[in-house]
Symmetry: C2
Subunit: 390 residues, 2 copies
């Protein structure tokens, strides 16, 4: 808990729930007649609504990006290191929006929310949503705020995929697109890891075909396994070596199956904590959205063709030790953007933290990020006005 809210924090923040009545046609063919999105915003929207930044979340993220909900919070939002007054995403200049995506489990319409049609949790009947669907729902969220064009749309991992899809689906609605630690589509290995996680959840005896809410239980073991496995793929081999090595909890071999090495107890702890904090049906949906993401698929599998209509300027960032979405995968995006004749900057950050690096305050990363944000500011009318006034 913060004894004192730090000066560069957005401070105490409150989520808001925004209701949408216009039916949303989904990629799967089904329609959501109405839905809620839970949102947090930081900073102030300027008069011409030109200083808005949308931050899209990754697999287990949500709307709570920065600041604290109350003085008892143990931790701030998930990207507090990057978002705040004077930080790289500077809330003194920008109006920042974070949301919980459709299908999420933190208040937006999703499996753990009550369906107005049945009066029961959606559960496994919640449709499989795609990155396209999220972009569509986020565009309506922009309409709600009167934002015609974002100064930037930013995301890491699955969040970066949403940013990239925005640049294709709504080319005129963002000036900058920042795609961090992402890939233009999942590899067979990525899909394989997701499938192990899904099998762990769906074959858990407490899953009850997704109707576990009614049984007052959760597929705790399945979700724990999914998270343990996911966690390994978020860290690098080197990073784990640095963090845990072969350190043993008791200093010697136990010759039993209790946690022996530090890395085992760390993973169990992380898995167990997640297993009761996150919704299993949402986890399934998020992994499917990842598997299905493939913006080139509608363009004869030609990513260059898919990106031809983009109008944003792009910043792509990758991390050397990220093996979930390795730098090669980011370079596929960069190469396609170059071939499509789009303005793109690319930085490969030397970091041993693996995929997790995108969330961490790595100095070189924040420096590069901040430098690019200066360009975003320069392209933001309000900023220019202020600069001229100053």
């Amino acid at each position: 808990m913060p004894d004192v809210i730090p000066e560069d924090s957005v401070g105490l923040v409150q989520p808001q729930t925004i209701h949408f009545d216009e039916p949303l046609q989904l990629s799967c063919g089904r329609t959501l007649n109405q839905y809620d999105l839970v949102v947090e915003t930081y900073g102030s929207l300027n008069a011409d609504a030109s200083n808005a930044i949308l931050i899209c979340h990754a697999l287990s993220g949500n709307h709570h990006i920065a600041g604290y909900h109350n003085m008892e919070d143990a931790k701030p939002g998930w990207w507090d290191s990057a978002v705040g007054p004077g930080k790289v995403i500077d809330t003194n200049h920008f109006f920042v929006i974070g949301l919980n995506n459709l299908g999420g489990c933190h208040g937006s319409t999703g499996p753990n929310q009550i369906s107005p049609e049945t009066g029961q949790p959606y559960g496994p009947d919640f449709p499989i949503v795609t990155v396209d669907d999220w972009v569509e729902s986020q565009a309506r969220l922009a309409d709600h705020f009167g934002i015609q064009q974002f100064a930037a749309i930013i995301g890491g991992s699955l969040g970066g995929m949403q940013a990239l899809q925005w640049s294709i689906n709504y080319p005129e609605r963002l000036r900058h697109c920042m795609v961090i630690a992402a890939a233009p589509r999942l590899s067979a290995q990525n899909i394989a890891f997701n499938e192990v996680a899904r099998q762990a959840i769906t074959q858990d005896t407490q899953f009850h075909n997704g109707h576990y809410y009614a049984q007052d239980t959760v597929p705790r073991v399945g979700l724990m396994l999914a998270r343990m496995l996911g966690h390994i793929t978020y860290l690098s081999d080197d990073g784990m070596r640095n963090k845990f090595g072969r350190e043993m909890r008791s200093g010697k071999l136990n010759f039993d199956f209790t946690p022996q090495f530090e890395v085992e107890s760390y993973l169990r702890y992380q898995g167990e904590r997640f297993s009761t904090a996150f919704d299993a049906n949402t986890y399934l949906l998020m992994t499917k959205a990842l598997d299905y993401f493939d913006p080139a698929s509608r363009y004869n599998h030609d990513l260059v063709a898919a990106l031809k209509k983009a109008q944003a300027k792009f910043m792509v960032i990758s991390f050397t030790s990220d093996w979930r979405f390795a730098p090669e995968r980011s370079r596929e995006i960069v190469d396609a953007l170059v071939a499509a004749d789009k303005p793109v900057s690319y930085a490969e950050i030397d970091a041993h933290q693996g995929h997790d690096a995108f969330l961490l305050p790595i100095p070189r990363y924040l420096d590069v990020f901040a430098a690019y944000m200066e360009r975003v500011k320069a392209d933001t009318p309000i900023h220019n006005t202020l600069a001229e006034e100053g």
Copy 2:
């Protein structure tokens, strides 16, 4: 099933069970008063027992290395591509021994076998065995056959670790040591993957604390998940891309949780097949033997010091795309051997198949292997005698 047994096959083979009465003191402090080892042999032991090769198996391997058990066998033994008359491990020259290690589930004393003391399966009461314990039991197996010194001890992965440990524990009992796709100890990431597999098994509701035999069930889901996960780590990202890409079974997205991509159905099939063919308690033991392997630990964590007393000549082989035990890990062994002033050859084979490559008939691999085996032959008295006679 083989219509005709190929000419370069060892043909129809039969395992034999060898009983040992002398108590075996284990690393954990417990003692096995008696035990069986199931063994297959190929070729003929010469008069002075100088032409014997021991092949040690990996995590899910066993004694059935080459040939067929009957004409209905769908597949030959697990390393049939390398072992046979005229093959790289040439049974015209060598007497080859394969065994199922202690704790295994293919007939050697292990969790699924009846304890003579209780009349019940050992189950979870079977002690955690180590690579040291296996080497000791294999040394007694050598005694049984009257083999004072092996021409070579060969193994891949966990099998390579046994070969390496032999060179330290019984330096005078092997002339050549071939360590393929192995590592001098597991990394934190390796241990982490093993721990996810163990959690999947032990938290399966059908595990019954390891006493599932009495319940006439098996922890099918847990073992399936362990195998699916293991399988991903045996293949490379590139190899999976080549093999599966993003090919879809139906040609289009289903928007449900049935297997969508080829890689999903492949993994499920492999996992399900394994889940009823292998013993869960054995899987747990094998992963612990992997985690605990660390020959340097008794030498103040100095691998060079550990290898000082070795007398064998070494051949170390790694594969470029192996990320379970990457070439860097093999080079740690090579570097330590060089520093310890031991004769060592090293080959890094360009292969996209990942860790699995060590089992596959990759031409460059077999060529390098065969070239080294000529040196083993040259160091084998019987071969020299035959050559002089001819």
